[in-house]
């Protein structure tokens, strides 16, 4: 009986997963969300920036991570544009170019932010740490023009920005090792303040940097995006999806427990 239960076709489990996603998608619910400290730190830091400051937002991810990082990117952009904080968008990943430019454009249209005054998207340059170090001496030495080919000298918000000294914060939206590269080459060397928004896979490894202050805040995956939307009181996909996520986590936790009960029963029998 037990062996049969353990031997069921995995496709049956696949169907259970699909159901755990589809049913709450069709019948949305709204559970209370508690906000974690690292998310709040970043939110408060941006809130405390004086109007007219400039931050940098690095879209260091590809489409494979858009589900986790787009919601937080949108929330961050909204907060900045509402607070009159200027945003320089860049990316160290080629796939981030199309994603970043579309996303900034979308939120700018919603909030009425103006290209060149409230935000600029610089695009992509290959070389990772070389790009980071290069911008530390002079942003224009790496990005002569913005993504649309407009020289930086002709962009109003860039007239007073030459390097990291004029950037109040860098937020790295990351799905890989880019946050570590930013920390290694920009934080200690140029004293650039860094925060990160990351995918689930790399959340855990960010914590040592939070404790030392090498990261001043952290948004953790879709849960972090939901927390950020809660802080801004602007519910969007993050809150919607974390509620659906609840049911899938319950299912997977249940499967782990059942599987292990069966494992122990079986082992006892063998003994």
């Amino acid at each position: 009986m037990l062996e049969k239960l353990m031997d069921i076709d995995r496709r049956i489990i696949f169907i259970l997963v699909v159901l755990a996603v589809i049913i709450p998608t069709l019948l949305p619910i709204n559970l209370p969300i508690s906000v974690s400290a690292p998310t709040r730190q970043l939110h408060d830091y941006i809130n405390a920036l004086p109007a007219g400051s400039t931050i940098m937002l690095a879209f260091d991810y590809g489409p494979a991570s858009l589900a986790e990082l787009n919601p937080m990117a949108k929330a961050l952009l909204k907060q900045c544009f509402d607070k009159d904080v200027r945003v320089i968008g860049i990316t160290l990943a080629p796939e981030g170019t199309a994603m970043g430019s579309t996303l900034i454009q979308e939120i700018a249209d919603e909030t009425g932010a103006i290209d060149g005054e409230d935000y600029v998207f610089l695009g992509y340059r290959p070389g990772e740490e070389l790009v980071i170090l290069g911008m530390g001496s002079d942003i224009a030495s790496v990005f002569e023009t913005d993504y649309n080919g407009k020289p930086l000298a002709d962009i109003p918000m860039m007239t007073n920005v030459t390097n990291y000294d004029q950037i109040s914060l860098l937020i790295d939206l990351a799905s890989g090792s880019s946050t570590e590269i930013w920390i290694t080459y920009a934080n200690v060397r140029y004293n650039l303040q860094i925060a990160a928004g990351v995918t689930g896979v790399i959340i855990s490894q960010m914590y040592p940097y939070l404790q030392t202050g090498q990261l001043i805040g952290l948004i953790s995956g879709i849960a972090g995006a939901a927390e950020y939307e809660t802080l801004l009181d602007a519910p969007a996909k993050g809150i919607l999806w974390i509620n659906i996520e609840s049911f899938v986590h319950l299912l997977i936790a249940g499967l782990v427990v059942i599987g292990n009960i069966a494992f122990f029963v079986q082992r006892r029998k063998e003994e």
Binding site: A67, T184, I203, Q211, I222
Partner: protein
């Protein structure tokens, strides 16, 4: 065009999900198309956002004499061109020159910066709470955390100590280290599950709302 795009996207999404039943030509079609399209995309981006602004423009400026300072940029451009000797069997050893420069400069930059950002900062971060303990500004819970942190770091690092046998007290220290590692990996496990499930939810959202929206 927009509706057509959604249908193309939905078709490709379903092609990939067909793998859940089993490996099949639809899945393979999508997988290979994906590789091709992403390579093409990266090629276009590195050409337009890397090659042209970083190499071609200074080269052109140097050739046309627009800026004489650009002439010095001819050196790295020539070195970069050596990458293409890869396609000649006779001269392909020349490809080592640009690689050696990139790897050399990268390693030289890495040594002090990694040492500072990862070893100095992380060691300092482990010690610093004890200054606060001395000053008496930490709560009981925070003091416990600070002590736990030192124990955890020392034990974990001991586990990765390879040139002595793990016997006697060292065996126990490294056992504690592995326990810390397991808790660390467990948290990564839980967070990874959250990440993967989010991707699925986004795709179902797309199929039900965006694609479904064009049907109903």
């Amino acid at each position: 065009m927009e509706v057509f795009g959604i249908w193309v996207a939905a078709f490709l999404t379903l092609c990939i999900y067909s793998f859940l039943y089993r490996d099949n030509p639809f899945y393979r079609f999508a997988e290979y198309l994906f590789v091709g399209v992403s390579v093409g995309y990266v090629f276009v981006l590195t050409t337009h956002q890397g090659f042209i602004p970083l190499a071609w423009k200074p080269f052109w400026a140097a050739i046309t004499g627009e800026s004489l300072i650009g002439l010095i940029k001819l050196i790295p451009i020539c070195i970069g061109l050596l990458f293409f000797t890869r396609f000649s069997t006779q001269h392909q050893w020349l490809v080592r020159y640009p690689i050696a420069i990139l790897i050399g400069a990268g390693s030289g930059l890495a040594i002090p910066n990694v040492l500072r950002a990862n070893i100095f900062e992380q060691t300092r971060g482990t010690i610093e709470p004890f200054a606060a303990i001395h000053a008496g500004t930490l709560s009981a819970g925070e003091i416990f955390g600070a002590i736990l942190m030192v124990i955890g770091v020392v034990c974990t690092l001991t586990y990765f100590f390879f040139s002595i046998e793990h016997r006697g007290p060292i065996k126990w220290v490294s056992k504690v280290g592995i326990a810390f590692l397991m808790i660390g990996f467990g948290s990564a496990f839980g967070n990874t599950v959250m990440g993967r499930v989010a991707l699925l939810i986004q795709r179902v959202d797309f199929l039900l709302n965006d694609w479904g929206g064009t049907i109903f």
